[in-house]
C-alpha cells in the first residue's frame, strides 16, 4: 500500500506495513538475542512509522528521481537504490537519478546510515513507491493510448499498446499526476521476474569518479566559503586559553580571520596551504586535555579493573578449561577524506554541507551550537569519501558552524590529516576474556566478558530522541544503549552449551565511535582464536570442528565453500599457514580463508615509512547476504572488509602516550597498503532464495580479522593476544605536537616517476 501524492507531475510515496518474521531455531544452546531480533530489526522497525514519507518523482524528461534519506560514503547504496527503482519501474538504470536527502527531522528514525541497514530497511518501501508510480503511469497510458492496462506492456521507459502505439514515461509524467493525495494498493513484481536486481552493475557514479568530477564536500564552491583549519591542542581534547601572537598571524599572507573556538584556534585563509602555515606559526596557551598523563597501559589497567568476572560454571570436575585474554588497541576510524564541512551561519539561518550519516542529529547539534531553531538550519548531505563509522558524527559540521558564527563569514573547514588520529574519533580500546570448558569431546560452556572504553552512541538511532537518551550524564544512557547494541549484534554461532557474552564499558573521556562493524571484529576475533584452541584440545581439524558445532546451515555453507575454493588443508611450508573463520550478522553469514606468510624474509621486507609485516598471500571470502541487489557491489564491500580485517589483525592502531595519540599521518597509521594485500583474492556470493536483502557494508570485516589472526597463530605456533600484532613495536618517529601539524615538504619534484 502507498500513496499517490498531489502534484503537477507524478509523485508517489510508499507506506510500509510489512510484518517481520523472525525465525527461531531449535538448538542445544539457548537462542541468543540476535537470532530472534537483531540490530537490523531494531533499525528497520524504528524506520517504519515514517517510511511513507519516501517519495519518487517521475520527470517530464522520462527520468525518475529519488532523494535517498541515507548517506552514500562508498558502500554503493545510490547504485543499489537506482537498481531497485529501475527494476520496479521498468526503466533503464541511467534514467534513475538518486540523490541524497538533506536532514529531514520529520523522518525521525529513518535517516541514519549505519549498521549496514540501508538495503534491509529501504528495499520494500522503495519498491512499493516505484510500483505505485508504474501503476499510475499505466493508468495514464491506458487513457492516452485508448487501451486497457492489462493489455499494455512497459519496457525501458516506454508503454506500448497491442496496436503498436506507444507513449513514454516522460510524456505521461504530468498526465499521471494526481490532484489529490490518495491511498492505493500495489502488487510488487515477483522476484522471479527480476531483470536488474541480482545482476552485476557498475557504480552509477563511476564515470564522475574516474574523471575527477565527483564532488565531495571540499570540492563544492560555496560563495565566500574560504579554506579554514583549526590549530588544535597538543593533548587529547585540550582547549585554547589565549593566543600570544594573533596580530602577527593575522598579517600572514592570505590569512583573513582568526577565531578561538572550544576545540582550538580557527584560521581562515585564501588557501589551505596558508591555513597550515598560519597554524604552524600560532603561539597558543592551552588548557589541559581530557586524558592528561594517560597511556595505553593505564587505560588497559582501568579496563582490567572493570571486567565483569567470569563465573566458574558448574561443570563436572574432570572438565578441562581453556582461558584466553585479549586486548584490542585503539584504532582510528578516519576515512581518506578528512573531516570537513562547509558552513554559512547568518543571524537568522544556517546552512551546512557535509558528509553525514546522521544528519538529523547533526542538525540538532548545530542549532544548539549557534543558537538558532532547528527549522532555521539546513543540513545538506554530501557524498562522503569513506566513513567506516566516522561520519555517524557531525563533529566537523558542528565545528564549522561555530567557526562561521564566530567569524561572521562562510567557511570551508577541513581537518588536517594529523588532526584525525590525534583528536578524531577512534575505535575504543577493549579487552575480551573468554573461558570455555570441555569434557569428553564436548564443549560444555563458553563465557565471554568484553570490556571496552565507552563507545559513543550519541547519534542514537539517527534522531534527537534516542541521541539525547544516549547522551545522559555519566554515560548511563550510553551504557544502556551500548549494551543493547552489543546484545543485538553479538551472536556466537556455535553449539557450545551454556553461552554467555557480556559487555561492560567505562567512560574514559575519549572521542570514540562505532568503527565499521562495531564490536564484532574484536569479539569474533577473540572467539575464533579460542575456537581454534578448543579444536586443538580435542584433536580436531579447525574446519571439521567448526562444521560439527555450527548451528546454522547458512554459516556451514559459506564455511564449506571457502574451504573448497581455498583448498583448506593443503600442505604449506614452515612459517606459512592457513586460517579459517566465520561470522554471522546482518541477516547473513560470511566465512574467510586466508593464507599467511610469516617467514622472516617476508616480515622484514624494507619499505620506507611503512610496515611490511606478515603477508596475507591469499584470501577467499564467501558471503550469504540473502537477496543480493548488486553482486558486484557486494563483492567490492567484501574486498574492503578483507582489507580492513588485515589491518586490524596486523598493522593498524594508534598509540596513547602521555595524554595524546602519537600517530599523525599515513606514514604512522598503517592501514593496509598494496604491499600488505593478498595478490590472490576471491569473493564468492552465495545463491540465496531469501526475499530480503541482508547488510553488506560491514559484513566482511569480522571473519577477515579472525581468519588472519587464526592463520598467524598457526603459522607462528603462538596465539597472539594483543591486536594489532605489531602494536608493541613503534614503527615510526612521532611528529611534534607543537605545532600540531607537519610542514608540507618542498622536495616533491625530486620524487617524480
Amino acid at each position: 500500500m502507498g500513496y499517490l501524492m498531489a502534484g503537477t507531475t507524478l509523485v508517489v510515496a510508499a507506506d510500509l506495513s510489512l510484518g517481520g518474521s523472525p525465525a527461531a531455531a531449535a538448538i542445544p544452546s539457548l537462542p541468543q538475542i540476535p537470532e530472534l531480533y537483531d540490530l537490523e530489526d531494531l533499525q528497520t522497525d524504528a524506520a517504519r512509522p515514517t517510511a511513507q514519507l519516501i517519495t519518487i518523482t517521475m520527470n517530464t524528461d522520462g527520468t525518475a528521481s529519488f532523494q535517498l534519506p541515507r548517506a552514500e560514503v562508498g558502500q554503493g547504496i545510490t547504485t543499489s537504490t537506482s537498481m531497485i527503482i529501475a527494476e520496479e519501474l521498468d526503466l533503464p538504470l541511467d534514467k534513475v537519478h538518486v540523490t541524497l536527502a538533506p536532514a529531514r527531522p520529520e523522518l525521525l528514525f529513518n535517516q541514519l546510515t549505519g549498521g549496514s541497514n540501508t538495503s534491509v530497511s529501504t528495499f520494500t518501501p522503495i519498491r512499493v513507491a516505484a510500483a505505485i508510480a508504474k501503476g499510475a503511469l499505466l493508468d495514464a497510458a491506458a487513457i492516452e493510448l485508448g487501451s486497457i492496462v492489462a493489455l499494455l506492456t512497459s519496457k525501458a521507459g516506454v508503454v506500448s499498446a497491442p496496436d503498436g502505439s506507444s507513449v513514454t514515461y516522460g510524456e505521461l509524467a504530468t498526465k499521471a499526476a494526481s490532484p489529490t493525495t490518495k491511498k492505493v494498493n500495489v502488487t510488487l513484481k515477483a522476484t522471479s521476474k527480476f531483470k536488474v536486481i541480482g545482476t552485476s552493475q557498475g557504480r552509477v557514479d563511476a564515470h564522475d569518479i574516474v574523471t575527477g568530477r565527483k564532488q565531495f564536500a571540499m570540492d563544492l564552491q560555496v560563495p565566500d566559503a574560504l579554506p579554514t583549519m583549526v590549530c588544535r591542542p597538543p593533548t587529547l581534547n585540550g582547549s585554547p586559553k589565549s593566543i600570544n601572537n594573533e596580530a602577527v598571524v593575522k598579517a600572514m599572507p592570505g590569512v583573513t580571520d582568526i577565531a578561538m573556538v572550544d576545540t582550538g584556534v580557527a584560521v581562515r585563509a585564501q588557501t589551505f596551504g596558508q591555513c597550515i602555515d598560519a597554524i604552524r606559526a600560532l603561539d597558543v596557551v592551552w588548557n589541559t586535555g581530557s586524558v592528561e598523563g594517560e597511556s595505553d597501559a593505564t587505560i588497559k589497567a582501568k579496563l582490567k579493573a572493570a571486567e565483569i568476572p567470569l563465573v566458574v560454571p558448574q561443570v563436572p570436575i574432570l572438565a578441562q578449561t581453556v582461558d584466553a585474554d585479549f586486548t584490542f588497541m585503539f584504532r582510528s576510524s578516519a576515512a581518506l577524506e578528512p573531516n570537513c564541512s562547509i558552513a554559512d551561519v547568518r543571524k537568522d539561518k544556517a546552512t551546512v554541507w557535509a558528509g553525514l550519516k546522521s544528519p538529523i542529529v547533526a542538525q540538532g547539534h548545530i542549532a544548539e551550537a549557534v543558537g538558532l531553531p532547528v527549522s532555521a538550519v539546513t543540513v545538506n548531505v554530501i557524498t562522503g569519501g569513506g566513513s567506516f563509522g566516522h561520519k555517524l558524527f557531525g563533529d566537523a559540521a558542528v565545528e564549522s558552524a561555530k567557526i562561521s558564527k564566530a567569524m561572521g563569514k562562510p567557511v570551508k573547514l577541513m581537518w588536517h590529516r594529523a588532526d584525525e588520529p590525534r583528536q578524531g574519533r577512534v575505535h575504543p580500546m577493549c579487552t575480551s576474556r573468554i573461558r570455555a570448558t570441555i569434557l569428553a569431546g564436548q564443549v560444555l560452556t563458553f563465557e565471554q566478558r568484553h570490556t571496552s572504553v565507552s563507545t559513543d552512541f550519541t547519534h542514537g538511532l539517527g534522531e534527537m530522541l534516542t541521541s539525547q537518551a544516549a547522551a545522559l550524564p555519566g554515560g548511563l544512557g550510553n551504557l544502556g544503549f551500548s549494551e543493547s547494541i552489543f546484545l543485538l549484534t553479538q551472536e556466537l554461532p556455535y553449539n557450545f552449551g551454556l553461552v554467555t557474552q557480556l559487555l561492560n564499558e567505562v567512560d574514559l573521556s575519549f572521542n570514540t565511535g562505532s568503527m565499521r562493524n562495531i564490536y564484532s571484529p574484536d569479539v569474533a576475533c577473540a572467539n575464533e582464536l579460542v575456537v581454534d584452541q578448543l579444536a586443538k584440545k580435542l584433536g580436531q581439524d579447525p574446519l571439521a570442528f567448526r562444521l560439527a558445532y555450527l548451528k546454522d546451515p547458512r554459516v556451514k555453507a559459506v564455511l564449506q565453500k571457502v574451504a573448497d575454493v581455498g583448498g583448506w588443508g593443503r600442505k604449506m611450508p614452515a612459517g606459512t599457514a592457513q586460517g579459517i573463520a566465520v561470522h554471522k550478522e546482518y541477516k547473513g553469514a560470511t566465512a574467510v580463508l586466508v593464507e599467511i606468510d610469516c617467514r622472516p624474509e617476508t616480515v622484514n621486507r624494507q619499505i620506507p615509512n611503512a610496515v611490511a609485516g606478515p603477508r596475507v598471500t591469499k584470501a577467499v571470502i564467501a558471503v550469504d547476504a540473502g537477496l543480493v541487489i548488486n553482486p558486484r557491489g557486494l563483492d567490492a564491500q567484501m574486498m574492503g572488509g578483507v582489507s580492513d580485517g588485515i589491518a586490524l589483525a596486523l598493522t593498524s592502531s594508534v598509540h596513547l602516550v602521555d595524554g595524546h595519540f602519537l600517530e599523525a599521518s599515513w606514514d604512522n597509521y598503517f592501514y593496509t597498503r598494496q604491499w600488505n594485500i593478498p595478490p590472490d583474492f576471491e569473493c564468492i556470493v552465495m545463491p540465496s532464495d531469501s526475499q530480503q536483502p541482508g547488510g553488506a557494508g560491514e559484513a566482511g570485516v569480522a571473519a577477515s580479522v579472525s581468519a588472519t589472526a587464526c592463520a598467524y597463530a598457526r603459522a607462528t605456533g603462538t596465539m597472539p593476544t594483543t591486536f594489532p600484532i605489531n602494536h608493541d613495536q613503534l614503527s615510526f618517529t612521532p611528529k611534534p605536537f607543537i605545532p600540531p601539524v607537519p610542514e608540507s615538504p618542498t622536495d616533491g619534484l625530486s620524487q617524480t616517476y
Binding site: 562508498g74 569518479i209 588557501t271 569519501g385 569513506g386 598494496q674 594485500i677 619534484l749 616517476y753
Partner: protein
C-alpha cells in the same frame, strides 16, 4: 605576492600568489580544479597524484614557485586529452572493473597507474605484482585488488 605561470591541463594559467604556497592549493583553492584530492599534505597518501611533464608527482609537496612557465601539469581532468580521447584507457579500465568505492583516492590512483605502467616499460618490462607492491597510494576503502586488475587491463590498451 607574485605572478606564477604554468600550463595546467593544456592551458596556460597565471595566479597571483606567494611562491611558497604548495601547488595543490593553487590548483584546488585558486583555480577550482578539484580532481586531485588532499589526504595528508606531506606526500604520503598520494591522493593528490598528478603529472608534471608526463611523470607522476605530488603537488602537495611542491612550491608553486618551483614550477616553470613551460612545465605541463596534468590532473585527472586533463588525462583524457593526453591521448586525444574522451577517456584514457586507464579510466576505461577503471570503469570496466568498477574499481571505485567512495572514489576519493581514485583520481590519484589512476594518475599513479598511468605513470607506473610507463615507468615499468621504460625499465624494460610490463607491469606486474612487484610493481603493484610499490604503489603507495592509500585506499581506505580497500579497492587494491581491483586496482591491480584494472591496471593490468588498462596497460594493454596504452
Amino acid at each position: 605576492m607574485s605572478m606564477q605561470t604554468f600550463l595546467l591541463n593544456g592551458t596556460s594559467v597565471t595566479v597571483d600568489v606567494n611562491p611558497d604556497v604548495r601547488l595543490l592549493w593553487v590548483i584546488r583553492d585558486m583555480l577550482g580544479v578539484t580532481g586531485p584530492k588532499y589526504g595528508c599534505g606531506i606526500n604520503v597518501c598520494k591522493a593528490c597524484t598528478s603529472h608534471i611533464n608526463g611523470k607522476a608527482f605530488n603537488p602537495c609537496s611542491v612550491r608553486v614557485g618551483d614550477i616553470k612557465p613551460t612545465d605541463e601539469v596534468t590532473t585527472i581532468e586533463g588525462l583524457p586529452a593526453t591521448v586525444g580521447k574522451d577517456l584514457h584507457p586507464m579510466q576505461e579500465a577503471w570503469l570496466e572493473f568498477d574499481v571505485a568505492q567512495c572514489g576519493y583516492c581514485q583520481p590519484g590512483q589512476i594518475m599513479a597507474a598511468v605513470a607506473k605502467v610507463k615507468a615499468a616499460r621504460a625499465a624494460g618490462h610490463e607491469i606486474g605484482d612487484a610493481d603493484f607492491d610499490e604503489i603507495r597510494n592509500v585506499c581506505r576503502c580497500g579497492t587494491y585488488n581491483r586496482i591491480r586488475e584494472a591496471i593490468t587491463a588498462g596497460a594493454k590498451n596504452m
